[in-house]
């Protein structure tokens, strides 16, 4: 009972790192976290779609979040992870540099996104979480995966192939 009440005022987040920034996803949208797996390339798909992987027989598209956010590419290493998220009954993998932790954050610690944060498009961000000195960029998953958003991003950022 007590937990329920707390849960209402709290958000549980999975945090991960890309470049120097720390990002977070609502834990309700996260299904599991995998080590880097062999990816089959998808020709002619959006540039940030890395390809597809086999998750226990299910074929799941994988997005390279670095590419999604126009960050420079980085070698995959021991720490590279695929976060499997599920939205609208579709599973999608997100490739990130490193998954840091799972934490609880009081709702009031989440502020609306400022005009422009790092190199990330504004509407991709749900809010900014603050714990002590850390700033967490909480992502708006639907926007990240939105097919129309893909086009929008292409239009916004010139030079995208």
């Amino acid at each position: 009972m007590k937990q329920d009440q707390e849960a209402a005022a709290e958000v549980q987040l999975v945090t991960f790192r890309l470049e120097q920034e720390e990002f977070a996803l609502d834990i309700n949208q996260v299904r599991e976290v995998l080590r880097m797996a062999p990816v089959t390339l998808l020709p002619q798909s959006a540039h940030f779609i890395e390809g597809v992987i086999n998750l226990r027989g299910e074929i799941i598209p994988v997005i390279d979040l670095r590419k999604r956010f126009e960050l420079p590419p980085k070698e995959r290493d021991e720490q590279t992870r695929i976060i499997i998220v599920e939205i609208e009954e579709q599973k999608v993998g997100l490739i990130v540099d490193l998954v840091t932790e799972v934490l609880r954050l009081p709702s009031e610690a989440i502020k609306p996104p400022p005009e422009r944060v790092v190199n990330v498009q504004n509407d991709l961000i749900r809010g900014i979480g603050k714990i002590e000195k850390r700033l967490l960029i909480i992502l708006n998953l639907t926007k990240i995966l939105d097919a129309e958003e893909k086009i929008a991003l292409r239009e916004v950022i010139p030079g995208v192939e």
Binding site: P38, T40, L41, L42, P43, Q44, S45, A46, I49, G51, V52, I53, N54, R56, G57, E58, I59, I60, P61, Q90, K91, V92, L145, A147
Partner: protein, 689 residues
């Protein structure tokens, strides 16, 4: 309630389909069997809608039932207008079913139609003859409308367990049950003698299971002037009726089939059998010990999602089996290998068994067509007969569900453009009636569906001219093309040969859409025609979509699977054999010149290394062919097709993906899409190799 909604929807579809079928059959030939069947369907529908609280559907079906009852008693003739009215009701119910949560929106339509139905009942009108009474009605104090189902249930209720057993045995022998209704003349004397003569006549044709009033009452003359008998056997109904009518003092004879089945949901309805003798099973002879009328169910309804998941899991199992077999071989343990071999056999059988679960008869789609053809032919005022065969041919559920649209299009096309006016046909010495054949049949691992009409056919010259005008082909191409090739042009967009654009077809986009839809199902379509004598469209579909045979090819780092269906042959090509015509590479294959591509370039993932020989897969989709160069051919394999996520599924040239034995995902090529899309990509890439 919501959990029953799916079931309700599924069953409603069936009932509506039944009603439509019966109607169309009745329109041709008014027979009791179809009337009864239609009545039952309408009644069941009413019952279900009532239980679920869909009041508008209940109202409509009730009116249908009442009107049907009049038909059944011969008070009205089934005129086209009346059939239309019924069909209108079916459509409206369909509409209500499709919009279960917005019932009230349709209230005005329902009440308008109800009025029309009611008006027909009045047309039928007339006074209510005593002959319309049924035991049911008598028993219930004539409160309810007489109706067949309730009458049947009333009979059911009256039967003792022993009588039911007798009936069941008779039914097993293929005998049928009839209600015989007899009415004597007013003031008739010696009623018991008349009754006796009736019984005698009946006994020649079958067995009298039950009488109402009872046989004793008939003997003692303690009845008014009508009685009902339940006859089981194989009577010659017409002859029997004549005999009975020949008996002096008999005013009216009615013989109608009765359906007694205990397991139907309708019989659960509370029909209060007031005044009926109740039998306790204990007093019955041995036969009655088992619960009467318990019939083992032959089918079970399963949610399609569950089926799909089962098919998927078995697919997984098969893939995993390959991996286990490989491991087993490495272990070099004979006992293990034997066990694995056994497992391989069982899983193969399991896979086959599960695949059949996905198969459904094409009837599910074909049954829609008689109604459609009827409506269209009335509208176009062209007389046509639709002859359907091979309805029970089974195909993958996905294909059956999706082949409806292209078939509708082909049929409409046939009616709109193919069919001729009666005078035109007579002049040509053809039968006055147009015929459209719709056939389904197996052909190897395919199902072939043909839509054929005996109308005016397609004139290749007209198509050629049109294609020239639209600049779809050059004058030279036109000269070189044979009639068969010219015909295939109708599948290209922008070409329509109809003289007029109607609301049905003729906008010049139709056939290309048909082709795309069929190819999306891994099918192919061809057309044949004899000008003046008709056309034939031949559709070929694979039996199943879930598992296909593919050729694995290596291409750079990736392995792709090419459906064997789309492969004509494999060959090796030396670089010097590749020529360039108008900036496009081609190779020669016997007499043909084929476009030639490096698969890797088509996918924009770099160019292939220069090799002494290129392995080339000659692929075809419809009438398009091409040579695809790959790095290596890896051999054939059966794969389970999985769809890509909808976030990425608009990829042209990719039909889906599959998981190989080693767990890697391999893309399955969609050759038709690839060949159509190729220019888009090639245009961007440099073509120097």
């Amino acid at each position: 309630m919501e959990e029953y909604e799916d079931l309700f929807l599924a069953e409603t579809q069936e009932y509506l389909q039944n009603i439509t079928q019966c109607l169309l059959a009745l329109e041709k030939d008014l027979d009791d069997e179809h009337l009864e069947a239609m009545f039952r369907a309408a009644h069941s529908l009413k019952g279900m809608a009532g239980t679920m609280g869909y009041e508008l559907i209940t109202d409509l079906t009730h009116e249908m039932e009442t009107l049907l009852d009049k038909l059944r008693r011969g008070e009205i003739a089934l005129e086209t207008e009346c059939v239309n009215l019924f069909l209108e009701a079916v459509d409206l119910i369909q509409l209500l079913v499709d919009n279960l949560h917005r019932q009230d929106d349709f209230r005005p339509q329902v009440s308008a139609l109800s009025k029309k139905l009611l008006a027909w009942q009045r047309v039928a009108g007339g006074e209510k003859t005593p002959g319309t009474f049924s035991p049911q009605q008598e028993m219930e104090g004539a409160e309810k409308e007489p109706n067949g189902r309730e009458r049947d249930i009333a009979w059911q209720k009256m039967l003792s367990a022993f009588e039911k057993e007798t009936l069941k045995e008779a039914l097993l022998k293929g005998e049928e049950t009839y209600q015989v209704y007899i009415r004597l003349r007013q003031g008739s004397l010696l009623k018991s003698v008349r009754a006796y003569m009736v019984l005698k006549a009946l006994e020649k044709e079958g067995e009298i299971v039950k009488a109402w009033p009872s046989l004793q009452a008939l003997e003692e003359e303690s009845f008014d002037r009508e009685f009902f008998l339940l006859l089981v056997g194989m009577p010659r109904v017409g002859a029997l009726k004549e005999t009975l009518e020949g008996i002096v003092e008999i005013e009216k004879v009615e013989i109608s089939p009765v359906k007694l089945d205990e397991d139907s949901p309708a019989s659960v309805e509370s029909v209060d059998g007031a005044g009926l003798e109740k039998e306790s099973p204990g007093t019955l002879p041995g036969k009655g010990l088992s619960p009467p009328g318990h019939v083992v169910e032959k089918t079970v309804r399963v949610e399609t999602a569950k089926l799909d998941s089962l098919v998927n899991l078995v697919g997984e199992l098969v893939i995993n089996r390959t991996r286990v077999l490989e491991l087993g071989k490495m272990a070099r343990d004979t006992a293990l290998e034997n066990a694995l071999e056994q497992m391989e056999m069982i899983t193969t059988e399991l896979q086959n068994a599960v695949m059949t679960l996905r198969m459904v008869p094409v009837r599910q789609v074909f049954d829609r067509f008689p109604r459609m053809v009827r409506d269209l032919s009335l509208e176009k005022n062209k007389k046509v007969e639709l002859i359907i065969s091979g309805k029970e041919t089974e195909l993958d559920r996905t294909i059956v569900n999706q082949m409806g649209d292209p078939l509708v299009h082909l049929l409409r096309n046939a009616i709109d453009h193919g069919l001729e006016e009666e005078e035109e046909r007579i002049k040509k010495g053809k039968e006055p009636l147009n015929t459209i054949y719709l056939r389904a049949q197996h052909e190897g691992s395919h199902v072939v569906i043909t839509v054929e009409d005996d109308g005016r056919g397609i004139d290749p010259e007209a198509i050629k001219q049109k294609a020239l005008v639209k600049k779809m082909i050059s004058v030279r191409e036109a000269e070189e093309m044979g009639p068969a090739e010219v015909l295939q042009l109708i599948f290209q967009s922008g070409l329509s040969t109809s003289r007029e654009v109607t609301d049905i077809s003729g906008r010049g986009v139709g056939m290309s859409v048909v082709k795309t839809e069929i190819e999306a199902l891994n099918g192919t379509v061809e057309v044949e025609s004899r000008p003046g004598w008709g056309s034939r469209f031949i559709l070929r579909f694979p039996l199943t979509l879930a598992i296909i045979r593919t050729l694995m090819v290596q291409c750079g780092q990736e392995v792709y699977a090419i459906p064997v269906e789309a492969i004509q042959e494999n060959l090796f090509v030396e670089p010097k054999e590749i020529r360039t015509i108008r900036q496009e590479r081609v190779i020669s294959l016997r007499e043909e010149v084929l476009p030639f591509y490096f698969l890797q370039e088509l996918f924009g993932s770099g160019s292939s290394p220069v090799q002494e020989y290129y392995p080339v897969v000659v692929v075809r989709a419809g009438n398009k062919k091409a040579g695809l160069a790959v790095d290596a051919l890896l051999g054939q394999q059966e794969v389970v097709i999985k769809s890509l996520s909808r976030f990425v599924n608009e990829l042209r040239g990719i039909a889906g993906a599959t998981v190989l034995g080693d767990g890697r995902v391999t893309l399955i090529l969609d050759i038709a899409g690839l060949l159509e899309d190729r220019r888009l990509n090639l245009g961007k890439k440099s073509v120097d190799h």
